[in-house]
């Protein structure tokens, strides 16, 4: 077993151990132990509750993230390349980035109802600004010597965008995507807590209302786990597409 995996396991053991102990003390009667929560998680996965819930939760989430990623990168590219677009649109996204979505949700419900649309919308509002702004700034900061090189070797504008600007911007774009996706998860959960309780958000609120705290924590745990898996997948993808340039640790 390699060192990094070992350390990951070790740190997981420390954190979960602390959780278990805190649950046994107990810190609060509403704070279940790690093992209780895992048991509840297991039970919910077995009886299909969790599967059905994720069927609900993932729809707006995946749709919203897909829309935000595609549209966000395109708009970001556009903003990064055109001064006019930058002037016109980037203030909007900067403002949007600061939007306290939780407060806006009632408005969205009025505008788009309680269905999928407004949940997708919530995910998009959360996820899109950071994707757009990161993409734009990365595109703007493409080293000019690389662009010149592309031109001197006769790259068309399209070539230069796809083969030089995008790959060169990719680390920042991906970090934008990462932040965007995590914000999208926040949006999806927020939508389920504040718009209509469906999916995982419903498990959380309902378990809480019937004081079934292990189930509530299991649901929270599962959504965090899912978000982390999702992001690892993204990282894998980034590694595949563009071999990274990891510079290692200063102490080495």
């Amino acid at each position: 077993m390699n060192r990094s995996l070992l350390l990951k396991l070790l740190s997981a053991a420390i954190v979960f151990g602390a959780w278990e102990i805190a649950g046994r003390v107990p810190v609060s009667y509403a704070f279940p132990t790690f093992l209780d929560s895992m048991t509840a998680l297991f039970a919910m996965s077995i009886d299909g509750t969790l599967l059905r819930a994720y069927g609900e939760t993932l729809r707006p989430l995946v749709a919203g993230i897909a829309i935000s990623a595609l549209l966000g990168i395109v708009i970001g590219l556009w903003i990064g390349l055109s001064e006019f677009c930058d002037w016109l649109f980037s203030p909007i996204f900067i403002v949007m980035q600061a939007a306290p979505l939780a407060a806006l949700i009632p408005l969205l419900v009025m505008a788009y109802g309680i269905g999928l649309t407004s949940k997708v919308f919530v995910v998009c509002i959360m996820a899109m600004p950071v994707i757009v702004l990161n993409t734009a700034s990365a595109v703007r900061n493409t080293p000019s010597s690389l662009k010149e090189m592309g031109r001197s070797f006769l790259g068309s504008d399209f070539d230069i965008v796809t083969r030089i600007i995008l790959p060169s911007a990719s680390p920042i774009i991906f970090s934008g995507l990462r932040l965007g996706i995590s914000a999208g998860f926040i949006g999806a959960i927020l939508a389920e807590l504040k718009i209509t309780p469906t999916g995982v958000g419903d498990i959380i609120t309902y378990s809480r209302s019937i004081a079934d705290y292990p189930s509530m924590y299991a649901a929270i745990f599962s959504i965090i786990l899912l978000a982390v898996l999702f992001l690892n997948l993204l990282e894998r993808l980034e590694g595949q597409l563009f071999a990274g340039n990891n510079r290692g640790y200063v102490s080495d």
Binding site: Y29, A30, V109, G113, I114, T196, P197, S209, I210, A211
Partner: protein
Amino acid sequence: SAETIRIALAETPSDELAAFFVALDRAKANGLNYEWTAFSDEELAIQAVLSGQMDIGFGTPYAAMQRSKAPVRIIFQLSKLKFFPVTTKKYEKLEDLDGQPILLHSRGGGTDSIANVIEDKVGITFGQRSYVPGSANRVVALVSGQADATIIDLSNKNKLMRQQGDAFNVLPMFDVEASDEALFANLDWIRANEDDVQILVDALLSTWRDMNRDPTIIGRETDPDGPIGQLPAEILGGLDDFYIEAVKGGLYSPDGGGRVAARADMEWYSEAGQLDGDPESLNIEDFWYLAPLDQAGR
């Protein structure tokens, strides 16, 4: 009594809470120290009282009382479950809603229990239940055509029917005496703070009685520097209308609920599926602490 009692509201101060704050002011005049925190929903208020972070909470914690066996008792009924099934012109009576989707407040909440009881009493089954917290939001959903049937509170029903009465029906429904909002606290805490509780319940009862005689006293007695007085003029302007209609609709019991309400609650919440067991066998003393109310009524 020097200690400050902590009150957990289940919503932000708004017109519906004006009467409660008037009562608090009266209690304060009699020497009660209090502070309040607003939570976004009833569950949080209940949770806060259960874990001792708050002393008195807002809500109807029957499920929690029975499930967690926590010694939580209701001391005063603030309002009754006066909710109304409102639909588009598609439906004329409750039977028409068989198999139809309906919009409710939250899973396990008051409107959910109304829906359960309707199903029982009328012998229908609703279709898909969707949840949108807030009567006002459900009105918007109804008006914008995103739903055909919902259950909303008295004031929103009146507002809607005034503005767009020709487009919607209020379906005739049986009367409900059960509580929508009640004040509750931990029994141990109540016993330790009998005096404070008494002051509070006295003030509440006197306010509720006065209000039932003259609803406009709420508007008049509201402290302009208090949380209600600071509300936007748009809301304050509607205060009198709100209470006149509410009193007419029987929202507030002039005697603070008491045994009648407790009985009704037990029947209702058993029927709604929130309480287990035969309502007859349930013991009022397990859910209500009636002494302060009895004392106040005397």
